[in-house]
């Protein structure tokens, strides 16, 4: 029989395990554990293995786990992936859904920072939530090596259930095409809040994904929303950006991916971003026209915090509402740079104060001095105030001391 392996091992690998599985014609199950936490968790790992082999009805197998301190949800994912590569089975061995992960997200919530995590690297997932990004993206697409894409699905699925995200919006970036539609089966039933769709060029791609999501939701009787965030990464995508942005009511934001876009243009990405100015403006315009959030591309030099800060300020001035991060150290810089300036906050305070006062007095029209204020201006001011409070730039009780 074929020898199947899943997971990772090696000197720099942490919080993961490497599983070797070989089905045999006869005999019994043989299990070998080499674990750096064997003294403390050897028995529980043993128990898990027995339970899983039993669950899948495997009686004659050689199974070896080389464990570098994998958490239970990781062990389960690696073992299940190995088993599913060896036998045909529809059965899923699921870790318990954490009660703390049982939340859904609002359409217009902040999406200033969203942290990309490779979908097959558990060590980077475990503490992601403590850095408080607005969203966490478990990436099944570019950040996973082609031969690891199958097993990453189990890991991402188990992470959605068993790993605490500490309130971050729980996002998954699926693959393109057929594989992406298959990916949905592994994540939609497990309370994912938002799906990122890579390389969107036509509305049909989104409609297709949306339909599949609805089918899965129906099958699993899921009521909570699953939002969509298409990513524009090509010249064609930029041209079609408004059609894409309006292709589903579940789209809450649209992002631009500049690495692929600049490659498609046949140019190189620069720090100043002149080459992507048009595309960024197009995406911002399409999003604003569609009433969704425009999200900027990631800044790839993790060590350059000043460059990132400048980049965020440019993004903000172009009209973007947020940006991707590839390292937790970028989160705070992005939040700080997107945070409203003091003069913006002061202006917003005036408007919101007038709005609330008008509301209290039962007036339908908000005015500031002799000027009438339109509802979208009020909404924007409210957003600014909320963001300022969130960024600790304004007290929650600011009205008490506001004259």
């Amino acid at each position: 029989m074929e020898v199947i392996t899943t997971g990772n091992k090696g000197k720099s690998v942490r919080s993961d395990c490497f599983v070797t599985l070989e089905l045999k014609e006869s005999g019994s199950n043989e299990f070998i554990l080499e674990s750096k936490v064997g003294v403390l968790y050897g028995n529980s790992i043993h128990k898990l293995v027995v339970e899983m082999l039993e669950f899948y009805g495997i009686r004659n197998a050689f199974l070896k786990i080389e464990d570098s301190g994998a958490l239970p949800f990781v062990l389960m994912a690696r073992i299940e992936a190995a088993i599913k590569k060896s036998i045909q089975s529809e059965k899923e061995f699921l870790p318990a859904m954490l009660a703390s992960n049982d939340y859904s997200t609002a359409k217009d919530r902040n999406r200033i920072s969203r942290l990309y995590l490779p979908g097959n690297t558990p060590s980077l997932m475990i503490n992601a939530g403590i850095h408080k990004p607005d969203g966490i993206i478990l990436d099944l697409e570019d950040a996973v090596a082609p031969d690891k894409k199958d097993e990453a699905r189990y890991l991402v699925r188990n992470a959605l259930r068993g790993l605490d995200f500490y309130g971050a919006e729980r996002m998954v970036r699926i693959n393109q095409g057929e594989r992406g539609l298959e990916d949905l089966e592994y994540v939609i039933p497990h309370n994912v809040n938002l799906i990122l769709l890579p390389k969107c060029e036509e509305p049909g791609q989104i409609e297709n994904v949306d339909q599949n999501i609805n089918l899965i939701k129906k099958k699993h009787k899921i009521k909570a929303p699953v939002w969509l965030m298409p990513i524009i990464e090509s010249a064609k995508g930029v041209i079609n950006s408004y059609a894409i942005a309006t292709s589903s009511p579940n789209i809450v934001a649209m992002a631009i991916g500049l690495e692929d876009y600049t490659a498609d243009l046949g140019t190189r990405r620069t720090t100043e971003g002149t080459e992507s100015f048009f595309a960024r403006c197009m995406v911002v315009n399409a999003c604003r026209a569609a009433g969704i959030q425009p999200i900027d591309s990631v800044f790839s030099d993790v060590g350059d915090s000043e460059g990132l800060r400048q980049n965020v300020l440019r993004s903000k001035s172009l009209g973007f509402d947020g940006m991707g991060c590839i390292h937790p150290r970028q989160i705070r810089i992005i939040h700080e740079a997107f945070a409203p300036e003091q003069d913006e906050i002061e202006k917003a305070k005036k408007i919101v104060f007038a709005f609330l006062k008008a509301e209290e007095q039962g007036l339908g029209v908000v005015s500031l001095g002799t000027k009438m204020i339109d509802p979208p201006v009020v909404k924007r001011a409210l957003n600014t105030i909320n963001m300022a409070i969130k960024m600790n730039k304004l007290s929650e009780n600011w009205r008490e001391s506001y004259e």
């Binding site: 936490v37 403390l40 301190g69 958490l71 150290r329």
Partner: protein, 520 residues
Amino acid sequence: MNKYDKLVKNAAGRMVPTVINGKPAIPYMGVGKYRPVGRKAAPFIATTADYPADGNKVAESLKDALIKCGLKDGMTISTHHHFRNGDLVANQIFDIAHDMGIKDLMWFPSASFPCHESMTKYLEDGTIHHIEGSMNGALGRFTSEGKMKGLGVLRSHGGRYQSVQDGEVHIDIAVIAAPTADPFGNCNGVNGTAACGLLGFALADSQYADRVIIVTDHLVPFPCIPWQIHGNYVDYVVVQDKIGIPEKIISGTTEITKSPDRLLLAEWTAQFCDEAGIIHDGFSFQAGAGGTALSIGIFFADILKKRGWKARFARGGSNKYLVNMLEEGLTDYILDGQTFDLEGVRSMRENPNHVNTSPFTSYNYHGKGNFATFVDTVILGATEVDVNFNANVVTHSDGYLLHGIGGWQNCLFSRCTILPIPLFRDRIPVIRDEVTTLCGPGELVDVIVTERGIAINPLRTDLIEKMKNSSLPIKTIAELKSEAEAICGVPEKPRFSDEVVAVVKWVDGTVLDSVYRVIN
């Protein structure tokens, strides 16, 4: 000679021997409870007439010097660890002893490093009977597996000084590697290719050993200035081509951490100190050389700068970041115990406010006070902490002895001891019901900072009050423990044999805990 006798329960509730390597030992009695009486130990009376009038004490070789010092079976040989993993001297001593067929030596280093791994073969063949000091890495593993002939004794830097001063350990021959020396034996650590800053860990050895050998690769004519170690204590000077590997002498972690999780710990620790009022104009602190601790120092510096404050002193382990603080006027002094990088060495050489200290001034139990007790905050690490804030730094949760105590125990006496530690490492929770080995009593550990919350020792009602309205995630230690166990699972209890392989001494020389042989 018995390694140890029966075990008795000490004041911390841990089982400890009352005889260690044939000598009586006192079980731990509680913090500040043990008050020995009598007089300190003293070296024998030397006579100047016995030493060359021209001041030239240069011996032919280290072997020659050791023979002249009367090297024989059963002696105690001391070394210092200022060369860290770049030490080329300690191993030579035992190579020579082995060639001479000498047996049952006791090695008394101020700390051991991976470069000393080859000592295991001398522990195996009986050249070395046992080690008192620290047993790191391979030596710890060797000890944990019950292979050492004698019982290992782990002491803090201050405890080492204490043991020499009160006669618990008598050093027969001290071998002091010195980056610069003169023929009379005056020496220092600030000059020479093996420059390591200072030689404070060898101070007691020079003063109390029967015989003192200086080994240098940079001999200068008398006088060698500064004379951190006085030639008046020295018997022989040995000159060699190379006594240390410079790039490994500077082997401490001297870069701030890039790990986002550790940076978060650092940031929260600094924020905690700020909100609790620990940082103030004229404050003092000690942060170690690890990546997290270095980052905390930088956050401290930022806070001082922002407020227009400065520290009165920073306690080193010095490094380039501390030197920057000194040179930018953010601290008046660095009181340095060991120098971790070349910037630290340069600063100590050039700046009179970068002060060379020894465990006598900072840590010693038999001094009339020591300054560890009035440092405002120290930032330390730990392998485990229990729900009563007791902490472990020497063994891992699987029972293996892997680290020394260093100055850790002594630093616990600061005004606020903070341990920034991850809630779990890989899958292993750091907060346990009971520490595997007790190194620091919980009453001295004030705050635990983890990436999922901060626990304040219930004894510190003042800190709890001050942090009442903090935005930091203040939790109880029990909450943190259950949070870790929810993620990792409840760990099984490792099994140990009932055979003691080493003991942990408290700063006063009493026995705090025993380390047991691991069962494979």
